[in-house]
Symmetry: C2
Subunit: 351 residues, 2 copies
Amino acid sequence: MVIEVSDSAAAPEAFVLPEGVTPTLDMVAAAAGVSRTTASRVINGSSHVTTAASDAVNAAIDRLHYVPNRAARNLASKRTQLIAVVVPEHTSDFFADPYFGTFIQGAALRLSSTDYTLTLLVASEADPDKTRRFLMGGNVDGALILSHHSGDRDYVRLAKSLPVVFAGKPLVGEEESQYVVDIDNVAAAREATAHLAATGRSTIATITGSLEMSAGRERLEGWHQAIAAAGLEPGPVEEGDFSLESGGAAAERLIASGAPFDALFVASAKMAFTAIGALKRHGLRVPEDVAVTTIDNDFYARNPDMRLTTVDQHTALKGATIVEVLMRLISGETVERMTVVPSELVLGDSA
Amino acid sequence: MVIEVSDSAAAPEAFVLPEGVTPTLDMVAAAAGVSRTTASRVINGSSHVTTAASDAVNAAIDRLHYVPNRAARNLASKRTQLIAVVVPEHTSDFFADPYFGTFIQGAALRLSSTDYTLTLLVASEADPDKTRRFLMGGNVDGALILSHHSGDRDYVRLAKSLPVVFAGKPLVGEEESQYVVDIDNVAAAREATAHLAATGRSTIATITGSLEMSAGRERLEGWHQAIAAAGLEPGPVEEGDFSLESGGAAAERLIASGAPFDALFVASAKMAFTAIGALKRHGLRVPEDVAVTTIDNDFYARNPDMRLTTVDQHTALKGATIVEVLMRLISGETVERMTVVPSELVLGDSA
DNA sequence: GTGAAAGCGCTAACAC
DNA sequence: GTGTTAGCGCTTTCAC
């Protein structure tokens, strides 16, 4: 093609990559025989371009292996194409938790089908302002907050000047001013507890998550609701904090209290894992003596020793959904404040 | 300074943020009474600026809450301040693995003390070229490859046009042309196995990792070396693939084979976890009947049922180190092809 | 439908 | 040590 270049016009250079030179939009335009504007239009999928021109540009792009320069594009368009996933710094455990990875996977995968790029922002506790400055400084088009702790208040404020979506409800009120993606914690706990009642258990205890977090409180509420719906009396309650250790510790207290129970709803699989260990150490068989259900279908729930009967909260889907919501927000669409991700009971061997 | 502004020159506006207007470098310069260049110099920490000017600029920055625009900065400087962490798409398990999160944590934390931003790039298997284009298109200053599989060959090639560091050796040869950060797998396996020999065990079996991966092969080699050093005969060998299930399956085969053994080195804690489950199911006590050591001090090794005697490979440190190496590479320093991250034996209850 | 011209906010020679 | 002058590569009015 264009092998016989006459002396006259045409720019042979436009067709040959001068080795090591990154092609620019202008080169593409030249090679396609159109103006830079038209080339830009084609790249950005604008209509109002003849198919002829469009084809020529695309051909040139392929030929030159053209890749748009993000910095230039962002500068001119005043968009960054970057969205931040903000994670808390401290909890060393947080990163090792399968929840983190799975969530990120869902988010990254959803994002990879767009022009957006995900950046992981570790919220420095030593210098919280650094994170805020980065977010507010026009470095990102939006943010996903993947934390649940005290500092959340700051992010709620941040939401006033930047599209922000929370994975799970932040503690503080102001429900009206924040976007949240989460499962229905009350319903999930209700379902897990109802399963225990449905299988004939009469005294259902619970180990709660941190009651400082809405997930903890809501799951406790779900437990209450299911018990009431089944016409039972609430069994003993022990408070955990969603950590691995707290599950076993709470189970120990439950046993030590002497209050009898033949079923147990634990607010998370991570806690259920150690709670069951404690039950076994005390000679209680699961599910024969104590049937156990929980929430999260992660490693702890699928562990080889015993597959738990649990509520799968589709963490990867949650990650994808939160991205979805953020994208809508960024593009100016109207979005529900609360987006509920479906969850479902998965039967295992613990109940 | 410049408090008494006369009617004449000076721009009072420079001191007041016109509400909702993002301050630019020019505004900072104006407010500080210097040229844009000087302001830029101060921001970029260049020397050759009087402290007076420097102070004035910094004061203006604080007053205006100035944050540099990354796009503009990147465009002008031809740097992106972005480094990509490339992870494989497929292995859904990969993300849920504590290794992933812990590694990312280390990398992100190290990076947060720099001006660089980390972006997570999920290598699409459907369209591998997309990942390559993104990386080659001048979108990032460097890349960390956190995969170990077949596709690695592509990244090795990529390393020719972009600073790239691998977490763990890619399979393919060409050791001379790639930067790698890893523990000494041979030494780690040797140490874990030597511990078994040192505690008086005489027949040490092993469950290997995938022998398609250098980590798998090297750990097997370490096992061999330790056994030879102890003057023992090699025990039975079963091949796993680093997956959770493969550990249990390999242990079953080991038992089924009838070959006796009183110790077992498993190439990863993840596999050791299920392998021990299998041993127990067959009435073998750990460590009484079979002493077990492994590699990785993650959740699987610290599980509440039994803390394993294992080699901690300091995954977070590895993440930080790999960033360190990449940063050096980017800044043009000479770096060793291979950087070894220290590892150490941690005693538990399994051996 | 297409192009010309004007920047986006910053860094980097190059003079002074 | 500091300012002036050009762009970086792209999007985007605004005419045509």
